[in-house]
């Protein structure tokens, strides 16, 4: 690896992942895909969201990597959901849509903690703060 390549390895890439890329995968494959991209210093903007048990699996997997992969500090993750309106009608509508087309009504940001300083989230927006190099 040349010096230039090594420097490029520290660059960060934004990776947009449409829901169709993971919709047919089982949980393990989804986690593997995401962790693989994070280890390539990619910040993933995922259309949709992971299931709660997939999120914990992702945390468990990344925890086992801390200390074993140089410079890896874990991940930053945040989901902005489309179901902020809690009215009964909207809840039912959202649940039907979820059964039919999956969890597409959300955006999830996942990236390496070594690059992301903070993900600020409030009910309606996500702000991504990167570390200065």
């Amino acid at each position: 690896m040349t010096k230039k390549d090594s420097k490029n390895n520290r660059d960060v890439t934004i990776h947009f992942m449409p829901y169709s890329e993971i919709s047919r995968d089982d949980s393990l494959t989804r986690i593997k895909k995401i962790v693989g991209l994070v280890l390539e210093n990619r910040i993933i903007i995922l259309q949709g969201r992971l299931k709660p048990e997939e999120e914990t699996k992702l945390i468990e997997t990344t925890m086992t990597l801390i200390g074993n992969i140089k410079g890896f500090q874990g991940v930053e993750i945040s989901t902005l959901s489309g179901d902020t309106d809690q009215s009964l009608f909207n809840k039912i509508r959202h649940n039907i849509a979820r059964i039919l087309v999956g969890e597409q009504d959300a955006i999830t940001l996942i990236g390496p903690a070594s690059f992301i300083k903070e993900i600020k989230r409030d009910p309606k927006k996500i702000e991504l703060l990167l570390k200065r190099k």
Binding site: K51, P52, I59, G74, V75, I77, S114, R121
Partner: protein, 214 residues
């Protein structure tokens, strides 16, 4: 998919069957430094006269699951018995250099970070075994953290009753309202594990929570 759902139904059936015969396992979950151990200590001091674990300003002080096999509380003529389980704080990242800012040397910081990652894995594994959970949040912090959402989402998916505690209400920046608006589907009770403020309401809610778990 069908097999997975059947497995989950069977698991819930057997866990409810055995739960009714044994002691309720009450877990304390939340992010690091929210005051889980401080609250567990407060309960243990109130009813057993002893502490459960050590507390510190340095994050990830609790790195192993800690128990009190039998805690018995009494209020208004009612009695309640449960097993108290205090878990390490769940986080998505750990940087050993953060510990060095608290004056720890590099070697100790690295070792603390390693233990903290194992503690997080242990906490997650224990989620399946809980009968009811108290989520302890720092009421001075933004509640919309993904860790909070992930823990609550996992417990909801497992049908485990939840009580949210907004800790540190003695501090100026504290806001119970923020936590209530972030999790409107759950009961939120404001306390200060340090000063004891709000503990009476907390014990009332614990009776209700454990009843839901039975």
């Amino acid at each position: 998919m069908m097999i997975k759902q059947l497995k989950e139904m069977t698991r819930k059936f057997w866990s409810k069957f055995f739960k009714s015969k044994g002691q309720v396992k009450l877990g304390f979950y939340g992010p690091p430094n929210a005051g889980k151990t401080s609250l567990a200590n407060k309960i243990c001091q109130d009813w057993l006269g002893e502490d459960l674990g050590t507390v510190s300003k340095i994050p990830h002080e609790t790195r192993n699951v800690q128990f009190k096999e039998k805690v018995e509380i009494e209020k208004d003529g009612r009695k309640l018995e449960f097993k108290l389980i205090d878990t390490p704080g769940i986080a998505t990242k750990i940087d050993f250099e953060e510990f060095m800012k608290f004056g720890m040397n590099k070697k100790d910081s690295q070792s603390r970070a390693k233990e903290a990652t194992q503690g997080i894995i242990e906490s997650i594994k224990w989620l399946d075994d809980m009968d009811a959970v108290v989520i302890v949040l720092d009421s001075t912090e933004n509640p919309y953290s993904q860790v909070n959402i992930t823990i609550i989402g996992n417990l909801a998916a497992r049908d485990i009753p939840i009580l949210i505690v907004a800790n540190k209400i003695d501090l100026k920046k504290s806001s119970i309202k923020k936590i209530q608006s972030a999790f409107p589907e759950y009961k939120v009770v404001g306390i200060s594990a340090k000063s004891g403020e709000g503990m009476e309401s907390f014990y009332d809610e614990i009776f209700k929570l454990v009843k839901r778990a039975k």
